[in-house]
Symmetry: C2
Subunit: 138 residues, 2 copies
Amino acid sequence: MQLIENTLKLHDLRITQVRMEMLQYFQNHTSALTHADLELHFDKRFDRVTIYRTLTSFLENGLLHKIPDDSGVAKYALCHHEGVEHNHDDHHVHFKCKKCEKIECLYTLEIPKLHLPKKYKMENANLLIEGICAICNN
Amino acid sequence: MQLIENTLKLHDLRITQVRMEMLQYFQNHTSALTHADLELHFDKRFDRVTIYRTLTSFLENGLLHKIPDDSGVAKYALCHHEGVEHNHDDHHVHFKCKKCEKIECLYTLEIPKLHLPKKYKMENANLLIEGICAICNN
DNA sequence: TTGATTTATGCAATAAAGTTGCAGATTAAT
DNA sequence: ATTAATCTGCAACTTTATTGCATAAATCAA
């Protein structure tokens, strides 16, 4: 069986055309994608609603994660951990370039331990770093 | 002169009714606010567009900052630093409670230094911690 | 296989969040 | 008090996202 299809199965997702192509597209991109990026890329081959729903299933089944930012448009990227369980991808470091606007995951970085105020219980953390990325910094 | 009016002046903002009341409202709240929160609170006393535009002026003039999150709705909170310059409020730690959904700024925490990959230049950082807040953790 | 069952997709309609243009009102500077 | 700058409200519009439903496709079980 193909790798793409296998990945879908592992995440309890039925194998369909949109899903295979969307997953493929994510795997070919290092930076985070928006619904608009996908709609543009697939140029009417799939309905916009289907793309929204596919993003949602990918999210729910632990294939993608949503990246918090302040642009007002949802951005998604592949989860890098192997395994199926959701919410085990708890520490994210993302980098948003102020020049090219791309967001990428910095897997190699860890979020350092923090000492929260009394009675606060931390479940996960997302660090969004803004600046100039390696490509734009030339 | 009143404190509120003084703050507006310091931030180069004309003194108007909406601005005074919106600033007041932010000062009375420890958690971040959305446009919808304000619209609800002011219940038709100010136009929705005016509220949007006031948020934008507050943002541009360094009175508020936008908090990155993945809800798809813009959230704003007061900048705690004194002084007028924008972009000097570069390290934010925010806490989002999974129970009450409120977001608050954790001023006392600092984002630890990080070692970015080669050629990346960091300009600012936002750490969003999710979990259970002190009030809900009872 | 084939048929039954479950789930996904496309289309249309709707909702929610945010923006723009413009005329009249308000603020602040002289 | 007059003037110039800007803010506000209204209407229209755009962009992003969601819901309902009929049809189509994928999976399961015999």
